[in-house]
Symmetry: C2
């Protein structure tokens, strides 16, 4: 679109044999049209650019650095108040979530937590008590995940920004795409609860609790690795987005709606809010459950709760068998920053 | 001050035997006065609070995690466009500096770099070319410091925020305060150049170059450790602030102005800008040189450039011998966020 417009303008310039001062203005217009904004290309494209330009980045949930006879697993994630914290979220929960999002990436690799670094920026008029509540949430989460807070740094900003780094250890990290045909696709818990929670005001609702204080599946990740899961990733940007994230050429997935465990209550609540329940389940995310693949034999031995939701095929497409028996392709749509609203 | 006001208001309430609805309003006023803001206590106090509440934090330049037969050294630092990047700084330099500030903490521990993680947030209307310039600066800095970029994540924010994490290895980290009486105090290069550079517009000036593209002393840090330096820290918040940072009970420092290498040109430029050159040298920082202590014997063998600026004493104060022979105490004043303007 931009380039068509650009071609048109150059043609226009040539026709007019423009050599006067007006040129300058028109050239400026062209330059404005030429300069792509990051919102034109989207977050995933930006990350792809960084990965393409660094030889050492692992395109997985976390970085893997060979270290003595093991691997150092490291990951960082930044949360920004206006983008990542719902309005009804407490300061304590902000702190807790900033640890969860990072530990969740360790969980997806099957790593054992080693340490957490906290870099936060807060407005200078924030009350000291609120600052302490954030730190309290961070510390409680560190205790919950048995990951010591090993370093920290504070800054001033116009809103709360919490950037965490989680470090872990792992001998054979669980990668995103080592699955084979006929492996089962499963998740470690309920899905879509947080997505609905973001739309509800009742703080006592189970959905809101999932939205405001999600938990990372750190133990489950280590058990999945031990019991031979063939891949794993955490569900942050939505089930659909993560399925596309782990898809490799020549392989496809068939998901079955009836296996997703969507309750009538869930459907009713979504319907009352004029929301499509499948859209909530597939395209919002923030559940922090693990999506994993595993052979049938290994699944039977797995000592954790799980929900099989589908199977790996060689169809090269990602599809959903609806409850009514119809099959439709799942859209590659998830939560993404920058995308023009 | 706040508490005097509070006492006064409570007295006022008692005298009036206030039990009406107005109570509510006045109680609200009291509560507002009672709630301390983070700007009331300052950044160092906030960091102290975090350290006091986590048993695992090393109160040094970077975190130390025992790891196999060595130590994993990790540090994170967040740079925010409106606070840390001068207006004339290029996108490339923003990227470069975000690596430098983190690697500098590794340098201060004498660590060998292992990997760098980049978490950045950018406005959605940022041009893609500018995004690429930031990433270009990050990658060039990683090459310069021989630290691979191992992971990254992007986000949307209203201004550019770059949070980096540097990971390193070190057998016996160089701590902040293992010095003895009569150890010499030295720095790895010139001091105060960046501080003057922030005040000058001429991009070709050596001072501006130091301000816009500082370099971390990563090799020097490793050499200092190898040659028996007794402590080291990087000069980010100003020489005075760092001297107070490394001070331990019962020890003091005597710094000599004539050893600081302040040129006449420097003094003249400062004077023309109506600035106190000693204030620039002591209280601004951002030089990223290493401040270190070492015994006289070990200093003689040191194969790097350095400048001895003073000596460790048992005076319990930090003093400066001026060029005119007078001695004055150095103020504990450095760059600090939140402090009310």
């Amino acid at each position: 679109m931009l380039f068509i417009l650009l071609d048109y303008m150059i043609l226009f310039l040539r026709q007019l044999k423009f050599i006067q001062r007006q040129n300058l203005f028109i050239l400026k217009v062209i330059l404005i049209f030429m300069s792509l904004k990051v919102s034109d290309i989207g977050e995933k494209e930006l990350v792809r650019y960084i990965i393409a330009n660094s030889k050492k980045i692992t395109p997985d949930d976390a970085a893997i650095t060979p270290f003595y006879n093991s691997n150092l697993i490291s990951t960082c994630d930044m949360l920004i108040q206006s983008r990542h914290f719902p309005k009804n979220m407490s300061y304590y929960d902000m702190g807790f979530k900033s640890v969860t999002v990072n530990v969740s990436d360790l969980a997806a690799m099957g790593a054992k937590p080693l340490g957490f670094l906290l870099s936060m920026a807060i407005p200078k008029n924030l009350e000291v008590d609120n600052f302490k509540e954030i730190v309290g949430g961070v510390l409680k989460a560190c205790d919950y995940y048995s990951i010591p807070l090993i370093g920290g740094d504070t800054n001033e900003a116009s809103e709360i920004i919490i950037s965490g780094t989680a470090l872990g250890l792992c001998d054979n990290p669980l990668m995103k795409n080592n699955y084979k045909k006929d492996d089962l696709i499963a998740i470690t818990g309920d899905i879509g609860l947080a997505a609905l929670g973001f739309e509800i005001d009742d703080l006592d609702s189970i959905y809101v609790k999932h939205a405001l204080r999600p938990k990372a599946r750190i133990n489950e990740g280590q058990i999945l690795k031990k019991y031979g899961a063939t891949s794993a990733t955490d569900i942050t940007d939505g089930l659909a987005s993560e399925l596309y994230e782990i898809k490799k050429d020549g392989f496809g997935f068939m998901i079955h709606e009836e296996l997703l465990g969507i309750t009538d209550e869930y459907k009713n609540l979504a319907s009352n809010l004029n929301l499509d329940y499948l859209d909530l389940v597939f395209h919002i995310g923030e559940d922090f459950e693990l999506l994993f693949t595993i052979s049938k034999e290994n699944l039977e031995k797995l000592p954790i709760e799980y929900k099989v939701i589908g199977i790996v095929s060689d169809s090269d497409v990602i599809e959903l068998t609806l409850e009514n028996g119809f099959v439709e392709q799942i859209k590659n749509k998830g939560y993404e920053h920058y995308v023009g609203e």
